[in-house]
């Protein structure tokens, strides 16, 4: 009552002072709210782009586990991407690196992204000035994104809370504090979403110039194949290591029975995807000589096919290129500083993306079989040195002494890696008789001169560098900024081969798709190669043998593309592979004898707990219903 009297006096005063009683009502009616986002097509489109904006940056070294958190690349103290801390065993619960659950330390906030997707799905039907078919398409794209974000999380964290619908902002505590859903439920839900999405997606992009990079039906089918393949793989399919991983109420988060049907489903999905892609004209990329002034040798031709399958934008092999994650920085880091010795001080070239020796060893010999199996290749002498001859001039500088490891290797080896004495085609030298050579020994142009711009192992990922990039004066490095190929046909073929072998054992179909990939790299078929050159000639005939071959083929074909990281986990081979030392050449040496000595850079350790990353301590404190991953 007192306040009523006061209000009366106040109003009287206001009146006396000539102001109106609405003095404090200053808010105009049309302040932007979330409803405005769906009031017209233009803003709805912005919201669609918002949903896309949470897509992980596939090409970013610091943000992508595949590049920095595994063993495919190595760095040095002067450049320490977030993920490298994980590779060196410093992942922890306080402030996890590449935290995609909470969106910190290099990780995108995927749950925020999923919330945005749900907001979009709740509202898109209300937009007045849009035709239904367009709404269908956008809705399908967002369904895909929602599925992909869940998939990215389940790969990283295992069981995660599924977000079918958004909880209200003021939802009570007990509803907000959700539990983690078992992995089978998560995968089931992802597949559900992808199926729903595929129905509404276009097979081809209507307008290349404005829409390339948007989600299409082939992308959705290929990712569905990958999701099913992941689900069917040992990490998620009846993984006994997680028998005791249970929720607080005792319910199991990992299914304990191996389900062979999942491989069957993966195979069906792969076939579906391959069929659609092939019918739409996707094929394995081959270099087109006609665009070039100089004719090139067969060796360079094959190399170009391999390099450009990744580094030529929107080539006809690429099913999904992420236009929101392009490669300018990545290429600067992949190009050796001093490749052009006259541009030694070009600060635009970093060259600090290094590939460990074990990755170099992984490539086949020129016979298309592993170096340890090739009857003619001197495996035990691989750390010796040898002088190159003119025959090898497209690979190694004529007369240059380099590691024995660099001789008689398959074309993908030379296409993927730059090394001391190795030739490097492109970068303004298009005559293959007169191309660059990487000189990396101490005192040479590409050696460690600048503290922060050097390579820790002696191998540069040449494959990631577009051959047309131009190193110029000053700090200018002009690059063909291609979008990151998240999914290309070779990957899909190899998935098909893997699923086929797992589901039904070796078959012609499996060989066919493996051999298609090998053929592009100038290698004969699997059966033929093994029979002729391997110490284990009938390895492709058994399911286990063929599995090993498929695995290695995948690691080689998709090398340096950030796939190895996930594949090793999926196959549960990480404990084996990521417990080997990271090695490189002895960069401080001036002679070949000294330089080509294997030097351990780091003794990597991978424990069982590292298959799934920790949920941050803050999240566990905020939500006591969330259980931590085992071992953390």
């Amino acid at each position: 009552m007192k306040s009523n009297i006061l209000r009366f006096v106040l109003i009287v005063c206001l009146a006396v002072n000539g102001a109106c009683s609405k003095y404090l009502d200053i808010i105009p009616d049309n302040i932007a709210t979330i409803d405005h986002a769906f009031a017209m097509r233009e803003t709805a489109e912005r919201y669609l782009f918002t949903c896309y904006a949470y897509m992980p940056l596939h090409s970013s070294i610091p943000n992508t586990p595949g590049f920095s958190a595994g063993d495919e690349f190595w760095f040095h103290n002067d450049y320490q991407p977030q993920g490298w801390n994980i590779a060196r065993g410093f992942q922890g619960v306080v402030s996890p690196y590449l935290n995609y659950w909470q969106g910190s330390n290099g990780g995108k906030d995927l749950y925020e992204g999923i919330r945005a997707c749900n907001v979009f799905l709740e509202n898109i039907r209300n937009v007045p000035d849009m035709p239904d078919y367009e709404k269908d398409r956008w809705e399908a794209e967002v369904l895909f994104l929602k599925a992909y974000y869940h998939y990215y999380l389940v790969r990283m964290y295992g069981p995660i809370p599924i977000k079918r619908e958004n909880l209200p902002v003021d939802a009570p505590d007990d509803i907000v504090k959700v539990k983690r859903d078992p992995v089978d439920d998560v995968f089931t839900y992802i597949i559900e979403l992808l199926d729903e999405a595929a129905a509404g997606l276009p097979e081809v992009i209507p307008s290349d110039i404005s829409e390339l990079g948007r989600i299409t039906k082939p992308i959705s089918l290929a990712i569905k194949a990958e999701v099913l393949l992941t689900w069917a793989s040992p990490l998620f399919n009846g993984n006994a290591d997680y028998a005791n991983f249970k929720d607080k109420d005792g319910s199991a988060l990992f299914n304990q029975t191996y389900n062979p049907d999942l491989w069957e489903r993966a195979l069906v999905a792969c076939n579906e995807a391959v069929e659609l892609c092939e019918s739409l004209g996707y094929k394995l990329y081959e270099y087109n000589q006609s665009s070039l002034i100089h004719n090139v040798s067969a060796e360079i031709y094959i190399q170009m096919s391999i390099r450009n399958s990744v580094a030529e934008r929107f080539n006809n092999e690429i099913i999904w290129a992420n236009t929101n994650s392009t490669t300018s920085t990545l290429q600067a880091q992949a190009t050796p500083r001093g490749l052009d010795p006259s541009r030694l001080d070009n600060g635009g070239v970093n060259g600090n993306l290094a590939v460990p020796i074990k990755i170099a060893e992984q490539f086949y010999t020129r016979h298309g079989v592993p170096i340890s199996e090739d009857k003619e290749w001197h495996y035990n002498e691989r750390f010796g040195i040898r002088k190159a001859t003119a025959n090898e001039r497209y690979y190694i500088e004529d007369g240059y002494t380099t590691s024995a490891l660099h001789f008689d290797r398959e074309p993908r080896f030379y296409a993927c890696l730059g090394f001391d004495g190795g030739k490097w085609y492109g970068q303004n030298r298009f005559n293959d008789q007169d191309t660059w050579t990487v000189y990396a020994k101490k005192g040479q142009a590409a050696s460690t001169i600048v503290q922060h711009a050097h390579n820790a192992t002696g191998y540069w990922p040449k494959k990631l560098v577009n051959y047309q990039n131009s190193i110029e004066t000053g700090n200018t490095y002009t690059k063909e900024d291609y979008p990151w190929p998240v999914m290309r046909l070779a990957n899909l073929y190899l998935m098909l081969a893997e699923a086929g072998n797992e589901a039904n054992g070796p078959s012609e179909t499996v060989y066919k798709y493996l051999d298609l990939v090998r053929k592009r790299s100038g290698l004969p078929g699997v059966v033929e190669s093994w029979a002729a050159h391997s110490r284990i000639p009938n390895k492709p005939a058994t399911q286990n043998g063929l599995r090993e071959i498929i695995h290695q083929e995948r690691l080689i074909e998709l090398a340096l593309e950030g796939q190895r990281f996930w594949d090793l986990r999926r196959w549960k081979k990480a404990e084996q592979e990521l417990n080997k030392p990271i090695t490189g050449w002895d960069l401080a040496q001036r002679t070949a004898e000294g330089y080509f000595r294997q030097k351990t850079l780091f003794n990597q350790r991978f424990n069982l707990r590292d298959y799934f990353w920790p949920v941050s301590e803050a999240e566990l404190l905020a939500n006591k219903n969330t259980v931590q991953n085992p071992g953390w």
Binding site: A32, T43, T50, Y111, I114, L167, D345, G474
Partner: protein, 1076 residues
């Protein structure tokens, strides 16, 4: 009345017995000592029979030394319009009616009242005020006599604020009981002190007091630019009754300043001129270049032996500091950039006076502060800091009728600044991140480059190193700031309606503006290309011919403008009934609006508004019992309709025990004893930052470039995204503070005065971000709510002592002390039932949590056998933390509250002034304690790359390398010297996340005591002054921040964690003050 005229001395007990005796002795001596006083009491008996109603009274006003006092206000009690001031000879004349009371008052002296019966000459001796006891105190929307006060208000004599600085806020520390103040930077223009009234009891957005200058709300910078010479009164309001009238805005206390007004009389001119020299109190000591190189190499190898080192043995062997060699450079960047001292000037002039209709006070001030930065003669511009501040003030009062007075107050303050593009602090910070041995600041022009007109700045490799000299010389920034305040006030005496009734109305508008412009060129980098070690010949080549630029370009900085409008009207009533019942009442209406011209969002562009009605009623009985009731009823535009208005009542009681009859025997000893107590509510509506004030509305960014996506073959189609920045919550309202204050005032022998106050505060509804929303909710903004609660309590004490000796010597001493502590009562945080030590509840607002650092790891074996530390890579020599919960790993669960809060809990100051004849001397000490601060391990980590928050350095050099502090070089862990208690852990060229965690390792005690100010002055004798037609002339010299006692030696401890910035300055000053 006699009591006023002399000072007792001696012990209380003897005094009581001997008082009559002493009294008569003194009375006998009096004629000898104070001839004028005797005249005043005896000669004034002449009666002017001519005038029955009106008397022409005149006389002389002197101080206790006999010197005439000019500028004393002489007025007739209860007739404010009939008044005058004494002239430069201390003389006055005034027409008064018989039986009226003449009031003689002047700042710094006790007010004296004289009843005029039929005297025509009334000579008066004013005593220097021993206390503020008879002072009139400015309170919210009015004035009260100190003896009637119930609320808690501390005032300061504005002359104590006269420090040799152009920034008033730097003088506040330790001067006012109840104010916590400290200064973190010494950069001209950026040196505002931080200050809080009775500490900090909120963890909301706004913790600063409300600043009112002549009732107008202004900013800290406006306060900083205020001239002490212009200030009539300076008070801080601390408790609920003092601040409740400000309703929803007063919870953090109020600073109330009024400026001088003119007094009737001839023009009185006062001028002050000062010149001062300022120099850093302490510079951070750096290691020598040789050590730098040695340790830099070590830092590389100790973490990764495979990496190449930066400096060859040849370079280390041949580098000679100070040799000026260009081949083996050793650059003392600090010397290259900074001078040892700067010279600053200040001048102030005021004129006041007036006639019976109009009175005026006009003043002007000019200050010039220079930085210590060097200027390269090759540039044709000056990039040293040169801050000129001007201010003008004109206060005019006009008597429109006998009962109507119009006051017009216009003031403006203006800053003109020229300085380095990124400011002085940034230059200091850059010096701390540049390499001392790779290149000189600039190469001399050699034969190859004789055509070059630009400065050949040094750099290295690809030009990615920081050359702070180039950064300083590459251009300059100008800024202009102005602030204009215009106030019109109308006072109407309504005693024709009812005696004691008056009306007052005030309209004000304030305009602020700021803009800056930078003009810069792009430095050309040169590096050493080759040299002949034997002959010393060398050549240099240019690194960035494509990027460098000789000509200036300009960049427009922020342009800010704001305007505010304020309206206040008040009705007051004041009357004494039956001589014993004092009654007063006040009703105030206010309306306020502020508009920002530089809003970054629609919501920020909307006007800030307040409207309120406040009232006060006081009752006093016989000068013994006092009661007061206040309220504020306020509305703010920030809240949803239902929560827009709040009611803030408060009440208080006081009892002047010494005015009781029974006290009379003690009155000579304890001349004053008074008890006061208040309780009430105050609010704080500034709960969110200006961008976030409409919490009841959601906010959506419809064009968020961070959520941008692009598509198309050449990524040609891109759209920004949409992000919810805030979810709406209609329940959000202001924070509320319940304040209680208990005070004791004791006066001893009329010489010493003690005021001690105890206060408590209980804040609720503090806005805070909800903590417990899991990330899996996917919210893009965290909701907030008024859930926080906090409490504060403390003590503030003020003690003054005055002694005037019979030989004319006088002595004053003063001391004040503030203790204020706070604690969280409710803080929304995670469920810490398992880790109770992590809960904020029960700890102070600025308490920090961190790890207990045990030592450095002695070796890798210890690393392997200790709990796992979850902060990224670490090795032997890195900091080892204590596993508090014993779970085998160091995680956030192992954090505990460490140290004291980062805001000091105790601030104190004490000092004395003394004078004899024309000489005076004073000294003031100031200190604070119960404060902890942290050395920033990221900013000081040797050789590391470090950018301050939000900092961007021109050209984005990739090689920022923190300098090596000498203290670190002297004490660090190395593989050869495994000192596990070394100051710095194992060296590294990159940031070691493990070592930068908040921990006890880098925690330091912020306590210090410093000799804040010393002043010596001499005033020439009055006779001599008169001969040169002046009323007074004083020359003085003073110094600020002369000595500091603290355990912390790396930099000036008052700068706390900000130690690598622009140092706090030590100032020596010479001044002249004259009036005529």
């Amino acid at each position: 009345m006699n009591k006023v005229y002399f000072n007792n001395s001696g012990r209380p007990d003897t005094l009581q017995r001997c008082a009559p005796l002493l009294l008569s002795a003194v009375l006998l001596l009096l004629p000898l000592l104070f001839p004028q006083a005797v005249k005043a009491t005896h000669i004034d008996q002449k009666v002017s029979f001519g005038s029955i109603q009106q008397l022409d009274v005149s006389g002389l006003v002197t101080d206790s030394t006999g010197s005439p006092l000019p500028g004393v206000s002489v007025s007739v009690k209860d007739k404010p319009l009939s008044s005058t001031t004494t002239d430069l000879n201390g003389r006055y004349s005034l027409q008064v009616s018989r039986g009226s009371v003449l009031v003689f008052s002047m700042v710094g002296y006790e007010t004296h009242e004289e009843v005029i019966e039929d005297e025509t000459i009334v000579n008066v001796i004013l005593q220097a005020s021993t206390s503020n006891i008879d002072e009139v105190v400015v309170v919210a929307f009015g004035k009260q006599k100190r003896t009637d006060m119930v609320g808690s208000v501390t005032s300061i004599n504005p002359s104590e604020l006269k420090v040799p600085s152009s920034n008033l806020t730097t003088s506040l520390a330790g001067r006012l009981a109840g104010m916590i103040a400290y200064q973190r930077s010494g950069e001209p223009g950026q040196d505002n002190a931080d200050f809080f009234i009775r500490g900090v009891t909120t963890f909301g957005y706004n913790r600063n007091p409300l600043i009112l200058i002549d009732n107008i709300e202004l900013s800290t910078t406006d306060l900083a630019r205020l001239q002490p010479d212009d200030i009539q009164s300076f008070s801080i309001m601390k408790d609920a009754t003092a601040t409740a009238l400000y309703g929803a805005r007063g919870a953090n206390g109020v600073i109330l300043v009024t400026t001088k007004e003119g007094k009737e009389g001839k023009a009185n001119v006062n001028a002050r001129v000062e010149t001062s020299v300022s120099t850093p109190t302490r510079n951070v000591e750096l290691a020598d270049p040789i050590t730098y190189m040695r340790l830099h190499n070590e830092a590389i190898l100790t973490r990764d032996p495979s990496l190449p080192t930066l400096y060859s043995q040849d370079k280390i062997d041949n580098t000679v500091p100070g040799s000026g060699s260009l081949i083996y450079p050793s650059t003392d960047w600090r010397k290259a950039l900074f001078k040892d001292f700067a010279i600053n000037q200040r001048a102030n002039l005021s004129v006041s006076g007036g006639g019976s209709i109009t009175r005026y006070y006009v003043s002007g001030t000019f200050n010039q502060d220079n930085g210590v930065l060097k200027v390269d003669p090759r540039n044709n511009f000056n990039s040293n800091i040169n801050l000129k501040t001007y201010s003008v003030r004109s206060n005019v009062n006009v008597n429109l009728t006998k009962s109507t007075e119009l006051a017009l107050r216009v003031s403006g303050s203006f800053d003109d600044y020229t300085g380095p593009v990124d400011g002085g602090t940034s230059m200091y910070r850059k010096v701390m991140r540049s390499n001392p041995v790779l290149f000189p600041a600039a190469y001399p022009v050699d034969a190859d480059h004789h055509f070059v007109k630009h400065i050949m700045f040094g750099n290295y490799e690809d030009g990615s190193y920081l050359n702070p000299y180039a950064d300083l010389m590459r251009g300059y920034k100008d800024y202009s700031r102005s602030s204009i305040v215009a106030i019109t006030e109308l006072k109407q005496d309504l005693s024709f309606l009812a005696p004691g009734l008056a009306f007052r109305g005030l309209i004000n508008t304030t305009r602020h503006s700021y803009f800056d412009v930078s003009r810069t060129y792009v430095p050309f980098w040169y590096q050493l290309a080759g040299y002949d070690r034997r002959t010393g010949d060398y050549n240099v080549n240019i690194v960035n011919p494509d990027q460098g630029r000789e000509y200036l370009d300009f960049v427009q900085g922020p342009r800010e403008i704001s305007s505010s409008f304020y309206l206040e009207s008040a009705l007051s009533y004041n009357q004494v009934f039956n001589e014993k019942h004092g009654l007063s009442a006040l009703l105030v209406f206010i309306q306020r609006q502020k508009l920002e011209g530089q809003a970054t969002s629609l919501q920020a562009s909307l006007p800030f508004r307040n409207v309120g009605l406040s009232g006060r009623a006081t009752y006093s009985y016989d000068n013994r019992y006092f009661a007061e009731f206040n309220f504020g009823y306020n509305g703010s535009e920030r809240f949803y309709k239902q929560h827009r208005f709040g009611f803030f009542p408060s009440a208080g009681l006081a009892w002047t025990v010494s005015n009781e009859k029974f006290w009379e025997p003690l009155a000579a000893t304890i001349s004053n004893l008074r008890l006061r107590g208040t309780y009430g509510l105050v609010g704080n509506d500034a709960i969110g930052d200006p961008e976030n004030r409409f919490m009841y509305l959601s906010e959506v960014d419809m064009n968020d470039s961070n959520l941008r996506s692009q598509f198309g073959r050449n990524y040609g189609y891109a759209r920004d995204g949409i992000r919810v920045l805030r979810y709406s919550d209609q329940n959000i309202t202001w924070e509320t503070s319940k304040k209680m204050n208990l005070a004791l005032e004791v006066g001893l022998f009329n010489k010493a005065q003690l005021i001690a106050e105890y206060f408590t505060e209980n804040r609720s509804n503090i806005l805070q971000t909800r903590a417990a929303t899991p990330a899996s909710m996917g919210l893009s903004a965290q909701p907030r709510a008024n859930v926080g609660k906090a409490a504060g309590k403390g003590v503030d004490v003020e003690f003054n002592y005055n002694e005037a000796f019979l030989n004319g010597m006088w002595l004053q001493g003063r001391l004040n002390f503030t203790y204020s502590t706070s604690k969280y009562l409710h803080y929304e945080e995670y469920d810490y039932t398992d880790e109770p030590w992590l809960s904020r509840v029960g700890y102070p607002m600025d308490q920090r949590w961190g790890y207990i650092a045990e030592s450095l790891f002695i070796d890798d074996y210890e690393v392997a056998n200790s709990p796992v530390q979850n902060f990224g890579p670490y090795l032997a020599g890195d900091i080892k933390y204590r596993d508090l919960n014993g779970d085998g790993q160091i995680t956030t669960r192992d954090q505990v509250p460490i140290g004291y809060p980062t805001t000091p809990e105790i601030v104190y100051g004490f000092g004395f002034s003394a004078g004899y004849k024309g000489f005076d001397v004073s000294a003031f000490f100031q200190g604070l304690t119960r404060e902890s601060f942290w050395i920033d391990p990221r900013a000081t980590a040797p050789f590391n790359y470090y950018l301050y928050d939000g900092e961007s350095i021109f050209g984005q050099p990739g090689n920022l390398q923190n300098q090596l502090l000498k203290a670190y070089a002297d004490s660090y862990w190395s593989e050869d010297n495994r000192d596990i208690y070394a100051l710095w852990p194992r060296l590294s060229t990159t940031q070691i996340d493990n070592n930068i965690q908040t921990s006890t390792w880098f925690m330091r005690d912020g306590a210090f005591l410093r000799l804040k100010q010393v002043e010596v002055g001499y005033s020439i004798p009055t006779k001599l002054a008169e001969r040169i037609r002046m009323s007074s002339l004083r020359i003085y010299a003073n110094g600020t921040n002369l000595l500091t006692w603290s355990n912390f030696k790396l930099w000036d401890v008052e700068m706390a964690g900000n130690g690598l910035g622009y140092p706090v300055q030590k100032i020596f000053n010479l001044g002249l003050n004259l009036s005529f």
